[in-house]
């Protein structure tokens, strides 16, 4: 049974995950003007939650090892296997644990966002960028070598909340991801069109002006970093559930910080629809490179896998030089005309 070719499913999954992460980046960079060079930090937080917590909770419920030994590879695959057979027969439990983990990932993501906001309040521009980047690197490093959380260098298997759907597992998982991604899109679109979104743009354009109007910049920045990190963390958790495994070395600054930046810059910084378009274009081109690099291999004296990096890097540079506003530029927001407001008040 093959309703949809696997490559389309692959593109949809990549699109959904990167849409969530890039939208969160766009909220911080495009709207609030913060140099978020440590997106991977929040994504990794979500992955850690999904990798370490649902399996342990279930293990605790069913009397299996749930302490540090849960993450050791000799136990881990056995425990997760047992849990998966339990989940297979219990859709309700599967859905509950799935939703619970996502909520927890968002909460912990917000906490991480709050922690990063501490230096963010004092530092400016590039200094903040470097600090965020270094933080992301260090969390990746620690979780890669510290075994009790997600098994360190061996990684862990993750319980599969889609197992009960049987043969349709990949379809269900893909479309759940896509649904959540589109929901996130609507949410962020709403958020950025709200007064809060307008204040963010105003802060980006002139901090002085917005301070004069009585807004607290520290609060705005903290709040934005928390919301952004919560959404990025959601993306990380979903990705971990989809792949069914979790290892810290997947979460490098190239794949989870620079790529989202490239997607955002291509689509249009400060425009959610543009970001969606940028992610779609990039994901399709990336997939095509992966599919067809084999054809190129006999003609070049190197592994064509590196062309992916050349492509993303060139895209970043070329967009920055020739089309800094992106493919779909940010549009001014039209507020309601004064007459209409007066009518509304009268009514």
């Amino acid at each position: 049974m093959e309703l949809i070719p696997p490559v389309i499913l692959y593109i949809l999954v990549d699109f959904s995950i990167y849409l969530i992460v890039t939208l969160s980046l766009n909220l911080e960079v495009g709207y609030a003007g913060l140099p978020q060079f440590g997106r991977v930090l929040a994504v990794l937080t979500g992955a850690l939650v999904a990798g370490a917590i649902p399996g342990r909770l279930l293990a605790l419920m069913y009397g299996l090892p749930y302490g540090p030994e849960y993450a050791f590879y000799e136990y881990n695959y056995k425990v997760v296997d047992t849990l998966n057979t339990i989940l297979e027969k219990n859709p309700l439990l599967s859905v509950t644990i799935f939703i619970f983990t996502l909520v927890l990932a968002m909460v912990l993501g917000a906490v991480i966002g709050y922690l990063t906001s501490k230096p963010a309040i004092r530092l400016r521009e590039a200094y903040l960028g470097i600090t965020l980047l270094a933080m992301g690197d260090v969390l990746m490093l620690i979780t890669y070598y510290y075994t009790p959380i997600i098994g360190g260098t061996t990684g862990v298997s993750v319980v599969d909340p889609f197992r009960w759907t049987g043969g349709a597992r990949f379809y269900v998982a893909t479309f759940t991801l896509l649904g959540i991604a589109l929901l996130t899109f609507l949410l962020i679109e709403r958020l950025t069109k709200s007064p809060y979104g307008r204040v963010l743009r105003a802060m980006r354009d002139s901090e002085l002006a917005i301070t004069v109007y009585g807004r607290d910049i520290v609060k705005l920045r903290t709040y934005t970093l928390m919301v952004g990190a919560a959404i990025a963390s959601l993306g990380g958790a979903l990705y971990t559930f989809y792949t069914g495994s979790c290892i810290a070395s997947t979460y490098t600054r190239v794949t989870w910080t620079f790529w989202p930046w490239a997607f955002m810059m291509l689509g249009g910084t400060g425009n959610n629809l543009g970001v969606m378009f940028g992610v779609l274009v990039f994901v399709i081109v990336k997939t095509l490179i992966v599919m067809y690099r084999g054809l190129l291999a006999p003609y070049v004296p190197f592994d064509p896998v590196w062309l992916e990096y050349t492509f993303v890097g060139m895209a970043i540079v070329l967009i920055a030089i020739f089309r800094p506003q992106g493919l779909i530029p940010e549009k001014p927001i039209f507020t309601i005309p004064r007459k209409k407001i007066e009518e509304l008040i009268k009514a």
């Binding site: 140099p35 230096p119 530092l123 590039a126 600090t131 620079f258 490239a262 004296p301 190197f302 050349t310």
Partner: protein, 312 residues
């Protein structure tokens, strides 16, 4: 107890870090660009030393000037093609930083391709490089320690003479202080920026070539230590080349020897967390004294110290 050879290696590592930080600071002072491509610049220096030593023989030290000039020209190319056009359009510091990240990805992919090319065409195994075997011994210590110290002292003196004693150096300092005023006086800021990218890139290449003699390398060696480079530069204060050199020495020694002391005290498992040390230094500097080492008013401190000593 830490063996003397470890101290010697730490000094060599710290020296190369000091040169990298000096390059980052020079480029930042002149063009307000946090150059992330420094990671790949350093790796290119590394691979030039490796390739030339493997293909033409001799000591890796012969190829230090080649690494300097090649990576310096790479810096010029990056400035002419990317940074120059962006600066003329008045791009924000974040955009400049992001574009150097793009450049870094491109250069990194070129290194990866070059490594594959070396393996396939010249049958060189280039994914784990150790050039330490080409080094010579001085009283049982690696020669790179002494050579790198000499290079750092030489570079600092040369930069000092260049910036303070020559006309172009004065023009350069004037441009750093106020580009508009300098251009009114007939200084072309473009030439100054170009020079800063040549010198900054050259220092990165030189540092990479020196590092190749003391640490094990692969195509990602630059991006692994890029956080240390930026930490050195920020600890140094980002507005003083001397400060950045001090920062590099400080970070390099603390990182190398600090983790060794911790490993002796707590056990070997701690060694993998080495990159946490520069992060702590970076965070402490930014939160406690963001001006960094270069921002400390040394003359005031000496005056105060003298009055204290005199008063007692």
């Amino acid at each position: 107890m830490i063996p003397p050879i470890a101290v010697a290696k730490a000094v060599a590592y710290a020296d190369s870090l000091a040169l990298m930080a000096a390059g980052i600071t020079l480029i930042y002072m002149c063009t307000k660009t946090f150059n992330f491509a420094h990671a790949s610049f350093v790796t290119w220096g590394f691979y030039i030393a490796f390739t030339l030593t493997s293909l033409y023989g001799g000591s890796p030290y012969y190829y230090l000037p080649v690494a300097f000039i090649f990576v310096g020209l790479l810096g010029v190319v990056v400035y002419v093609l990317v940074i120059g056009p962006l600066m003329r359009r008045g791009a924000s510091p974040t955009t400049l930083m992001m574009s150097t990240l793009g450049v870094d990805l491109v250069l990194l992919s070129f290194i990866q391709m070059f490594t594959d090319y070396l393996t396939r065409v010249f049958k060189l195994y280039a994914r784990k490089i150790v050039l330490e075997v080409y080094d010579f011994d001085v009283f049982g210590l690696p020669g790179v320690t002494f050579i790198s110290l000499v290079v750092v002292v030489f570079i600092i003196s040369a930069l000092h003479i260049f910036l303070v004693r020559t006309k172009f150096g004065t023009a350069m300092r004037a441009t750093i202080e106020n580009p508009n005023l300098a251009s009114v006086l007939g200084i072309n800021p473009d030439v100054v920026y170009l020079t800063s990218w040549f010198l900054g890139g050259g220092l990165a290449g030189l540092a990479g070539a020196i590092a190749s003699i003391t640490i094990t390398g692969d195509p990602t060696v630059g991006s692994r230590i890029v956080v240390s480079m930026f930490a050195s530069s920020i600890v140094g204060g980002l507005y003083s080349i001397y400060g950045s050199v001090l920062g590099g020495l400080l970070i390099g020694l603390t990182e190398y020897l600090g983790i060794m002391v911790l490993a002796i005290q707590l056990g070997g498992w701690v060694a993998v967390y080495r990159p946490v040390i520069p992060l702590i230094a970076l965070a402490t500097t930014l939160l406690v004294y963001p001006k960094g080492l270069g921002g400390i008013n040394w003359s005031r401190i000496t005056v105060r110290f003298k009055s204290l000593v005199g008063g007692s």
